[in-house]
Amino acid sequence: MKLLTANRLSDGEAVWYADGLWVDTIAEALIAHDKESAEALEAIGNKALADNLVVDVNLIDIEIIDGTIHPTRLRERIRAAGPTIRNDLGKQARIPQAA
C-alpha cells in the first residue's frame, strides 16, 4: 500500500494527498491499494508539483497496523509525527494529550 506525500510550497509543512486536496495529517491520506491507484497518485503528485502547490513529492510505502496508517520507513513516521525528541513540535504537538 502506498500514500502520496509532499511538503507544502508556502511553508514547507509535510502534507499528504487525500481525495482532491492536500491534508496536514497522515490519518486522512488516500491509500493506494494497487499498482493502478498508485500510478494515479503519482500522476496527481506530478501535476501538483507542476502547479506549484507542493514540493518534494514522493510515494511512500505504508502498512495498516491496528487500524492506523503506519509508514514503513522511520523517516516517514517522523515526518508524520514530528521530531522524536520534542513532543511539542510537529504534528504530534497538535494532538490533545491525555490528562
Binding site: 511538503n7 510550497l9 508556502s10 511553508d11 514547507g12 509543512e13 509535510a14 508539483l49 507542476a50 502547479d51 506549484n52 514540493v55 518534494d56 514503513t72 520507513r73 522511520l74 523517516r75 517522523i78 515526518r79 514530528g82 521530531p83 522524536t84 525528541i85 520534542r86 513540535l89 510537529g90
Partner: protein
Amino acid sequence: MLGKRSKQTANGTTTMYRYDEFDHDFVKARVAQFGDQVERRMAGEITEDEFRPLRLMNGVYLQLHAYMLRIAIPYGTLHPRQLRMLAHIARKYDKGYGHFTTRQNIQFHWPALSDVPAILADLATVEMHAIQTSGNCIRNVTADHFAGAAADEVADPRPYAEILRQWSSVHPEFSYLPRKFKIAVTGAERDRAAIKTHDIGLHLKKNEQGELGFAVYVGGGLGRTPIVAKKLRDFLPQEHLLSYVTAILRVYNLHGRRDNKYKARIKILVHETGTEELASWVEAEWQALKDGELKLPEQDVAAIQSYFAPPQLSPRPEGDEIVRVAKLDSRAFGEWLGQNVTTHRNPDYAAVTVSLKSIGETPGDISDSQMEAVADLAERYANDEVRVTHEQNLVLPHVARADLKAVYDGLVEIGLATANAGLISDIIACPGLDYCALANARSIPVAQQIARRFSSLERQREIGELKLKISGCINACGHHHVGHIGILGVEKKGAELYQITLGGSADENTTVGEIIGRGFGPDEIVDAVETLVETYLSIRNDQSERFLDVYRRVGPAPFKEVLYGAEARAA
C-alpha cells in the same frame, strides 16, 4: 565587501563588525531580490528546479517538517544585539529556539518560506545574512572560538578570517565551484578550529624573524571520504594570503571533478593528484598572482587588525580572592570553574564556555529566552562579545575573574551552567533524522541517552576528556570521524544501526577514527559506549592518560574484544 569592521561601538570599548554604506546597500538589495524571487515562486512564475539554487544561495533548505534557514556567523563572533535578533526571529518566525552548528552558524528549523524575506530583512538590521551558507561556494570562514582571548595564541586569527570573508563574499570566480568549500583559521599551536578537517586550514604563526604567516593545509574533509588535510606550505607570509588561496581555488576550480558530486571536493583532487603535484600546480598559479593586486598591503592588514584590537580590559586583581571564597561557598561553582573556564591572556580575566549540552537536552539548541539572557550576560560581564564554537557551545571570551561567580549564577538561572565542557556529555550531534532530509538515522536521541547514562559529573570527570561525536548519515555533519568515540547512524533493512569509530581527533594531531566492527541497534548503542568507557578506565595507566591516548597506545584490540568477544578473535 560585506561587513567592514569598525572599532566604534555603543560603549566605545569593544570591536564588532559594522557594515559600511556599500555593505548595507548590498545586503538590502539582496534581501529585496530574494523577496521578489520568493514572491514569483509562490505565484508559480518559477519552478522548483529554477528556485532551488536561488533559495540555497540564501541559506534556505527543505527538511522533513519544514524549510530550514541557516544564518552565517562569521568566525563565530556575535554581538549581543545580534544574539537578541536571533532570539526575536526564533520567537516571531520559528518555534522559539535555534540550533548552533559545527560550522559556527545557526539554523532555524521551522520558518515558512513566505516569512524568509522578512527574516532576512530583520537580520540585515543587525548586519547579518544567510548568503553563502549553502551552495558550491566558499562558506562561512570559521576560527578558534577563543581567538583574541586565548593565552596560547600567537596572534588573533579573525582579522585574516575577515579578510578572507570580504574577499570570498559573492566572489564572481568562485561562486560556482565543483562543490562547497570550507576554510578555517587558528592562531595557536593548539588547534581548536579543526583546521585539518577543512578544504583549506590556516595556522597563523610566526617565523624565526618574528614575522606573521601561515602554515597552509589543503584537502581535509569528513563526509563519505574522510581525509586529513595535507600541508602545502609551512610558512606563507601573511601578505600573500589572498594570492595563495586564490591560486588554490583556481587550481580546484579548473581541475576539481564536476561529473560526480561524491568526488568533487578538493580532498579528492589532492588525493588523486598527489600533494607534491598539486602543490606544483598551485605554485605555478601563485607565481603569476603573488606580486599582483591580491598582495595585501601592510597598511590594509594593519587596518583590519586594528578593528580586532584587544578590548580595553580594566585591571581586576580582586578576582582571585573572590573566586577563592566563592569556591569554598559552592562546590558546584568550583566544578564549573574547573571545567568550563579557560585561561585568558590577561590574568585578571577568563574565557567562559557556556555549555549547550545540558543533560538530556539537544546538543546546540538554545531557546529564545536563553539567547536573550546570554546577551544580557555578555553585555554586563563579557565586553559585548559572544562566540559560537564548532563544538556547538557558546563562549563569553572576556570575563573578569571577579565576575565569574555572577556569570555562573546567571547561567544557573537559565539552565546553561552544566560543567561538562570537553567531557563525555559535551557531545557534538547533527540534527539527524529528527529534522534532516539527508539523514538515515537519529543522532539527537542517542546523544541524549548517552548524556543521561553518564549524567554524574563526578563520573564524567573521572573519565576525563572524551570527545564523542554523532552523525546521522555519512555526510558527517556531526564530525563522527574525528570523535575519540564516533558514532555513525545508518539505515539497515529499514532500521537504525549505529557504527562506532574509535581514535579520531580534530586537534593539531588530527586523525580519522577506525571502524571498530559491526553496528549496534538503538537499544544497544549506549551500552556499547559504556562498555568502551569502562574498558578504557580499566586499562589506562593513570588519570592523565585520556581515552584517546589509551587508544593510540593499545589500538583497537581490547575494545573489540569487549564489544565482540569470540567474534573479534575469529576475525
